[in-house]
Point group: C2
Chain length 340, copies 2
């Protein structure tokens, strides 16, 4: 899922997303709640109409954003108190508030409010936090049953920091409550990559395989393929669009930074093996010039290409899984990708 | 002509320009000479291929940019010495250099190098400057005859500050030399609007009416119509794209600044009387949100609309002229435009 934090995937239009083949995007409840406000979006016909996007929208609960962006936040028993990063105003949201906001936005997949722990954190603290996350998950599900008409999905979020027994307990409890999908949260918060992979491997294998397993906030092409082989079905990440705006593009032979002077007179497309609109029409030399001159079109073209690249990678991964040759596909891709 | 200073009309793709109905854009020799350098563009197949724009390209000579952007410039008898606004490097360009650069870029319409005087300026100084401009124009035409194969156009630029006799002399001399079109330069440099209009009216009427008469760097919708009635055929201006990026859009009922809180929940298109892609698909409320949140898509949508608005205005003006009802058309438009 490309990330449309503020109701737009940065630099890209919804028409272009469709052209690329994207079918689902993520929007941020935290950001949209603060600006323009969910009531504004509701008055303007809901998030789909507001953004002119007729594909699927998943909204996250805002827990992670409050944790990582808000200048001051405090999780209480009943919800989270925080200050807006935009104007410093104070807010308090309960798990039910967060669900209601997502329902009023008209999102297709809502996420429950969780408490995202930092890294490192002591066992006792992680355990107390997890108990709260689980209590909120239970309350959220009950509220959901009253509000939703069965047209949307509600996902639970697995926390428990890097403690395997807490992760296990969390999965067990969430599955008892029963959600339409399960997300792995509380990762990419500063822990070493090897530890992250261990937790993904461990917890991913515990999640029900007949339901979507969603790894939040990941990642690079290699990570995506590694995590798919650990059982993950869904991802979101701002990485492809963020690095694009800085002039870095994915290619089959690894990432390339267009600011490098070697591309100054390069007549070739961003990726010789790519058939996207950008690679069919523009040279590396031109796009490099646009990036160097800080022109918006440069960011548009690199973003388009990076999203196309990852979307195609996911299409190929699905095909490889169906044809029972995913391991080879992964190995071949990573070998070529790292052979720069 | 939309302005594509650095080889891109800011925020817009060439495909979108075509969709809007644009057939000609302006690029800046000064900017492209400094970055990425004309040799790079030449190696990458010329400006059309470089930018993926198959419409007409007019390149200005850089005289005005050196005058207005370069931190240090000095016009000598043989050419202009200046410092780059990007890295402070020193450069010296003769009129012949400037033509050669434009030819190597592959521009369809080239402009001769002129000296753009500041305002106010004494008569004697203006006269001396004009003599240089005319000498350069003569040299440029001779060089052009050697270089061009009759496929491109070369325009002369009328200077003479706000002195009518100097403007008259300039037109007379330029017409003697013989160009494919004539531009009015040295305006919009700080003179009062009424004086500018007087000069446009006076000098515009002297220009050969069977050749393109081009007013550089102008302007607003009202100015465009006023100047058309004074005989002007061509314009360029960064205004529509620049104000768009700041959230200001043209409508039949005047300019609107989307940052105004009154548009927060506005479900209507930017302009109820516009049939462009943006007005067919997006609400003012959404575009306002994008502008407030500094999202690139906001700048894309407002830029698209403003270019569409002006292009349609010019189409309607041409039609009104052909049907011999331009004065009424102008009066009606301005009345509605100023009735906010």
């Amino acid at each position: 899922m490309p990330v449309g934090t503020q109701g737009t995937v940065k630099a890209i239009s919804p028409e272009e997303l469709r052209e690329i083949g994207i079918r689902i995007i993520l929007c941020n409840t935290y950001h949209l709640y603060l600006r323009p406000g969910y009531k504004v979006i509701q008055k303007l016909g809901g998030l789909h109409k507001f953004t002119n996007w007729d594909g699927v929208i998943l909204t996250d609960s805002g827990g992670y954003q409050i944790f990582s962006i808000s200048p001051l936040q405090k999780a209480k028993a009943e919800g989270i108190k925080f200050k807006s990063h935009i104007d410093g105003s104070e807010h308090f949201l309960t798990p039910m508030d967060v669900l209601k906001i997502q329902l009023s936005l008209g999102s297709d997949i809502a996420m429950v409010l969780d408490e995202c722990t930092s890294y490192p954190i002591g066992y006792k603290e992680a355990k107390t936090s997890l108990e709260k996350t689980l209590r909120w998950a239970k309350m959220s599900k009950l509220a959901w049953l009253n509000e939703d008409k069965g047209e949307r999905g509600l996902f639970g979020i697995v926390q428990g920091s890097t403690f395997k027994d807490l992760r296990e307990k969390c999965v067990e409890e969430l599955v008892k409550i029963g959600f339409d999908g399960y997300a792995l949260g509380g990762l990419s918060v500063g822990e070493p990559l090897s530890l992250r992979e261990e937790i993904i491997k461990h917890t991913g294998s515990l999640l029900p395989s007949h339901q979507p397993r969603y790894l939040m906030g990941i990642g690079t092409p290699e990570e995506l393929l590694e995590d798919i082989s650990l059982g993950i079905d869904m991802f979101d990440c701002a990485l492809p669009t963020r690095i694009a705006r800085n002039g870095t593009v994915f290619t089959r032979r690894g990432k390339k930074n267009l600011r490098n002077a070697r591309y100054r007179e390069d007549p070739n497309p961003l990726d010789l093996e790519c058939d996207c609109y950008v690679c069919k029409n523009y040279s590396k030399g031109y796009i490099r010039h646009l990036i160097q001159a800080r022109e918006i079109l440069g960011m548009r073209l690199t973003t388009y290409h990076n999203l196309y690249f990852l979307n195609r990678l996911m299409e190929e991964a699905r095909k490889a899984i169906k044809e029972d040759r995913f391991d080879k596909f992964k190995k071949d891709f990573i070998q070529e990708y790292q052979d720069t």
